[in-house]
Amino acid sequence: MAVSGFEGFEKRLELRFFGDDPVSNAMGLRLIDFESLDEVLHAVQCTVVSAVANRSFDAYVLSE
């Protein structure tokens, strides 16, 4: 590893889900509370440093 601890090439993971009743649950995964997301990111070894959202999705910049 370089002195800075840097490894450029990212690992990318995309997970897609489906539900029985998508109409009544239009927000879907966006309903997951921040604490739960933060726990997942803790396992990944990242933390949220910045966030933004619009009508379609939530976007987070992470620490690594």
Binding site: L15, R16, R30, I32, E39, F57, A59, L62
Partner: protein, 280 residues
């Protein structure tokens, strides 16, 4: 690194020695509490620059695939792992997909661009200036976005940017239901930048994906570029592949050195192209 959360889709992209694959099981569990079940999974990456520093299971692609498969429900039965080589043995593209259905769902095209050997002068934009430490990371990030020209890649996007100390940069772009993201480490010797966005074969004019990719690559003027394009339900478009090659060649002098296509059951088609400057 970046995280995007849609109602039925989550995308996590991390660098360093992060343990990305550890997110699979808890995400499936969280989704289940909302009445959602996993439909498909896609894991992709380039060749690590410092592979010996990666922790298990990132020690080999084979180990990663075994790990992912152990964490997926059996219902995702259409699975495939592939290493897509290029003319440079150190620059391969690794893809694993798994899906419940054999036919891919209709999704926008995903473009993943990896760039190394960034232009040294342009890379300076991503160092925080002396005496600037008092400025917060958001303000410094905004300045980097403006100075580098990243804000011109998609003028319609709202940009959420962050500058790391003493150097490095991350941003997420939000434009309607489309995301884009850039991550930069500018240090000479192992400089790297990535750009990712989504698009459609029907985008045209300023939004034409070849033009968008050209503007992103132009920010960094790298010595090496790779582009991985994933086509979901729309199906593969050879015209897009050729148009990207034409635009990068004509406007940036980048020559396509390798092009490979692979099909993934239930997950679509991936095209992997590599480029270097014509003079190289």
């Amino acid at each position: 690194s970046s995280l995007f959360v849609y109602p039925t889709k989550i995308i996590i992209k991390t660098c360093g020695t992060t343990q990305l694959l550890k997110s699979i099981r808890p995400m499936i569990r969280l989704a289940r509490t909302l009445g959602l079940a996993l439909h498909s999974c896609r894991y992709s990456r380039g060749s690590f620059i410092f592979p010996e520093s990666q922790p298990f299971p990132y020690t080999s692609f084979k180990d990663e695939v075994v790990y992912v498969e152990e964490n997926l429900p059996k219902s995702l039965r259409y699975r495939k792992a592939s290493v897509m080589p290029s003319t440079d043995p150190s620059r391969a593209w690794h893809v694993f997909t798994a899906s419940v259905d054999l036919v891919p769902t209709c999704e926008p095209i995903v473009f993943e661009v990896c760039m190394t050997e960034l232009d040294r002068v342009l890379a300076r934009s991503f160092f925080r200036r002396k005496g600037e430490n008092a400025k917060n990371s958001d303000a410094a990030g905004k300045e980097m976005t403006r100075l580098s020209g990243i804000n011109a890649i998609n003028p319609n996007a709202f940009i959420c940017d962050f500058a790391f100390d003493p150097c490095g940069y991350s941003m997420n772009g939000v434009d309607g239901d489309r995301y884009s993201t850039i991550h930069v480490t500018p240090e000479d010797g192992f400089s790297y930048a990535s750009f990712e966005c989504v698009g459609s074969v029907y985008d045209c004019g300023e939004d034409d994906v070849a033009e968008v990719l050209k503007r992103a690559v132009e920010v960094f003027r790298p010595g090496n570029v790779s582009i991985s394009t994933t086509y979901g339900g729309d199906g593969y478009s050879h015209e897009v592949t050729k148009r990207v090659e034409r635009v990068l060649s004509k406007k940036l002098g980048l020559k396509c050195r390798s092009r490979l296509m692979d099909e993934f059951p239930g997950s679509g088609t991936v095209v992997y192209q590599t480029f270097t400057p014509r003079r190289k």
